[in-house]
C-alpha cells in the first residue's frame, strides 16, 4: 500500500439494526497512521469496526480496507487486520502463550512461527512473565494486554482497538497508551483507536474521526481541528450564569461548560489580540453584572473539537 493510500475508506455506508440506523450514510477516510474514532455512547463506533471486520453487513455503501473491498475479499482483509475487541474474549482452558500462538495459527502463521511470535508479542505487551498462566486467572489489565497481543501476533498492517484502556488502573493505562503510540509511530502499523476517552486519542493518534448519532460529525488531523482561527479562554464567574452566556453569544463568542465550574470561551478571529479579548469578556461580564473570578488563556483541546462536533453545550 502506498504511503498516501487511506487505511480505510467508507462511502455512503449505512448499517441498520431492525429499524434503527447505527450508521447512516457514513463517508469517511481513515488515513494511514494512527486514527482515533471518537463519539459518545451509541454513536456507531463499534458498529463501524464490526462492519469493517465483516461481522455486520451494511445495507448500503462501500467499504475498503488497505485498498481491498471488504465485501469482495473479506478473508484477505482480515488476514491483514488485528482486532482487539471491547469485551473480554479468550479461548477457554488455555494459557497465554498457547492462546496467542493459536490465534497466530488461525491467522495463517506456521505453527513454529506462531509460537515464536507469541512469545515475542507477549513480552512486547508486558506479559512475558505471566505467559504460562491460565487466561482465566488474569486481571482486567492483563486481559486487555492479552487481547492486544492476539491482535498483533500475526503482524497485521492495520489494528482495530476498541476501548483498549477500559478497566485499567492509571499506571496500566499509561503503559497501554505508550504501547499503542509505539505500535503506530515506531512499528509502522496503522491503527484505528475507538474510544470515548479523549485524552487517550489525543495522546496516541494523529487524526480523528468523530461520530455522532451514526453520522460523521467531523474528521481530520487533530492539530488542524484543534487549531481553528480563534482563541480559547478559561473563565469562572460569580453571579447569574445564563445571562452571561447569552451575552457572550450575543457578542459573537462561543461558550462551553466543563465538568468543573470553569467555562471555556472561544473567541473567533486572528491570533494576537489576547489583551483585547480579555477586556471584551470582562466588559460583557460587567454588562450583565457578574464578577469575573478567573480568566486565563488556554489552548484548544480535542475535547473542544469533540464538543463542537457533536454540538455539546
Amino acid at each position: 500500500m502506498a504511503e498516501t493510500s487511506p487505511a480505510v475508506l467508507l462511502e455512503h455506508v449505512s448499517v441498520v439494526y431492525g429499524k434503527n440506523y447505527a450508521l447512516r450514510d457514513v463517508s469517511a477516510v481513515f488515513p494511514a497512521g494512527a486514527v482515533g474514532l471518537l463519539g459518545p455512547n451509541g454513536a456507531g463506533k463499534s458498529t463501524m469496526l464490526k462492519a469493517l471486520l465483516g461481522f455486520l453487513t451494511p445495507t448500503s455503501g462501500r467499504m475498503e480496507v488497505l485498498g481491498m473491498k471488504v465485501a469482495d475479499r473479506p478473508l484477505e482483509v482480515r488476514s491483514q487486520l488485528g482486532y482487539m475487541p471491547e469485551t473480554d474474549g479468550h479461548i477457554p482452558g488455555m494459557n497465554a502463550v498457547t492462546f496467542v500462538a493459536y490465534c497466530g495459527q488461525l491467522a495463517g502463521l506456521p505453527k513454529a512461527d506462531a509460537m515464536q511470535r507469541a512469545h515475542e508479542t507477549l513480552f512486547y505487551v508486558g506479559l512475558g512473565e505471566a505467559r504460562y498462566r491460565n487466561l482465566e486467572t488474569y486481571s482486567t489489565g492483563m486481559k486487555q494486554r492479552i487481547k492486544l497481543a492476539q491482535a498483533l501476533v500475526h503482524d497485521p498492517d492495520l489494528v482495530f482497538l476498541d476501548e483498549p484502556t477500559n478497566g485499567m488502573d492509571p499506571k496500566g493505562r499509561d503503559e497501554m497508551l505508550a504501547l499503542i503510540r509505539d505500535i503506530a509511530h515506531n512499528k509502522g502499523i496503522n491503527l484505528i483507536l475507538s474510544s470515548h476517552l479523549l485524552p487517550d486519542v489525543e495522546f496516541t493518534c494523529d487524526h480523528v474521526v468523530v461520530l455522532d448519532k451514526g453520522r460523521v460529525a467531523t474528521f481530520g488531523p487533530i492539530e488542524e481541528l484543534k487549531g481553528p482561527a480563534g482563541r480559547v479562554y478559561e473563565v469562572r464567574v460569580k453571579g447569574a450564569l445564563a445571562p452571561f452566556v447569552a451575552a457572550l453569544h450575543g457578542a459573537g463568542m462561543e461558550c462551553r461548560e466543563t465538568d468543573e465550574d470553569v467555562m471555556r470561551v472561544f473567541v473567533p478571529g486572528a491570533i494576537g489580540q489576547t489583551g483585547a479579548d480579555q477586556q471584551h469578556i470582562c466588559a460583557v461580564a460587567g454588562q450583565v453584572k457578574v464578577q469575573v473570578r478567573h480568566l486565563r488563556t488556554s489552548v484548544p483541546t480535542l475535547e473542544d473539537v469533540f464538543a463542537r462536533a457533536v454540538g455539546e453545550p
Binding site: 434503527n20 471486520l53 474474549g89 479468550h90 477457554p92 512469545h119 508479542t121 504501547l179
Partner: protein, 281 residues
C-alpha cells in the same frame, strides 16, 4: 514517554499459509485438548470394551463352529454391535460436544475466531471434525477392526464374500449415526453459554422423544409413530442399511426424512448463532 516493553516486537517476514485452512487448526487443537483429559481417555477405553467382547465371540466361533449356533457371526452381529455403541455415542457426544461452541460463547471467543481470516463455515467445520473424529473412533473404527478380526480368526474371506454389503453398510450406518448426533449437538451447543445446560438439552431431546414415542405406542398400539423419536429413526434407518427386518412400522423413508430435517434444522441454527456479533433488535 518512551515505550516500555520495546524489547522484542518486530515485523514478521516469514511465510503465511493460504487462507481456508483454519478449520484444520481448530480441529487439531480440539482433538489435542480432549485427549489430554484423563476422564475422556477412560471413557474411550470403556467404549472399546464391547469390541473386546465381540473379538472373543469371533475367536470362539472361529475355533468352535458349534458355538455359532448360539452366537452367530453374521451381518446382524455388526448391526447389534453398532446398536450397543449407541450408548457410547451418546456419552461421547455429550462429553465432547456440549461445550464445543457453548464454551466459546461464554468466553466471547467467537469474535476472536471470526476476526481472523476464517469463514464461519470453517469454524463450524473444525468443531464438527473434532466431534465426528471421536464418534467415529467409537463406532466405525472398532466395527472395521471387527471385520478384520473376523477375517484373521477365520483365516478366510468367506464371510466377506458372502456378505459383501457389510463393509459399506458399517461405514454408512456409522456415518448416519455420527453425523446426526454431531450436527444436533453442535446446534444445541450454539444455543447456550453453558455446557451443562446443553448436556441437559441433548439428553432431553433424546429421552423425551423416546418417551413420547413409547407413550404414543401404548396409546395407539402401533409403532407407526416411531418417527417422533430420534433414536427410533436412527434404528430404523440402520436396520434398512443392514438389510435386517425393520423393527418399527414407520416407513424407512419417513425416518430418513426426519433425520435429514433434523440435520437441516441444526445447520440453520448454526448459521444463525455462529456470528461475530450478537444483534438484539
Amino acid at each position: 514517554m518512551s515505550p516500555i516493553h520495546d524489547q522484542s516486537y518486530r515485523r514478521y517476514s516469514g511465510t503465511r499459509l493460504p487462507v481456508g485452512r483454519s478449520w484444520a487448526v481448530i480441529a487439531r487443537h480440539g482433538i489435542k485438548a480432549m485427549v489430554e483429559k484423563r476422564a475422556f481417555l477412560i471413557l474411550m477405553i470403556v467404549a472399546w470394551i464391547p469390541f473386546i467382547v465381540r473379538c472373543v465371540q469371533l475367536y470362539v466361533v472361529a475355533n468352535y463352529p458349534q458355538a455359532g449356533a448360539i452366537v452367530a457371526v453374521d451381518a446382524k452381529m455388526f448391526r447389534d454391535f453398532l446398536d450397543q455403541q449407541g450408548f457410547f455415542v451418546f456419552l461421547t457426544t455429550i462429553y465432547v460436544g456440549a461445550g464445543m461452541i457453548a464454551n466459546d460463547r461464554r468466553a466471547n471467543a467467537l469474535q476472536i475466531y471470526l476476526s481472523k481470516p476464517l469463514l464461519r463455515m470453517e469454524y463450524v467445520g473444525g468443531k464438527l471434525l473434532v466431534l465426528v473424529s471421536f464418534l467415529l473412533g467409537v463406532t466405525l473404527l472398532p466395527a472395521v477392526l471387527l471385520i478384520l478380526m473376523q477375517v484373521a480368526f477365520s483365516g478366510s474371506f468367506t464371510f466377506i464374500w458372502n456378505n459383501l454389503f457389510v463393509v459399506p453398510a458399517v461405514v454408512l450406518a456409522c456415518l448416519v449415526q455420527v453425523l446426526v448426533a454431531s450436527f444436533t449437538m453442535l446446534a444445541l451447543s450454539s444455543l447456550s453459554k453453558s455446557s451443562r445446560y446443553v448436556s441437559l438439552l441433548y439428553t432431553g431431546a433424546i429421552f423425551f422423544t423416546e418417551a413420547m414415542f413409547n407413550a404414543l405406542r401404548l396409546i395407539t398400539g402401533s409403532t407407526r409413530v416411531a418417527w417422533v423419536s430420534i433414536t427410533a429413526n436412527l434404528q430404523q434407518v440402520v436396520d434398512a442399511i443392514f438389510r435386517t427386518p425393520a423393527r418399527y412400522e414407520t416407513p424407512t423413508l419417513v425416518s430418513m426424512l426426519v433425520l435429514l430435517a433434523l440435520v437441516a434444522v441444526s445447520i440453520s441454527v448454526l448459521e444463525r448463532r455462529v456470528k461475530g456479533v450478537e444483534v438484539v433488535s
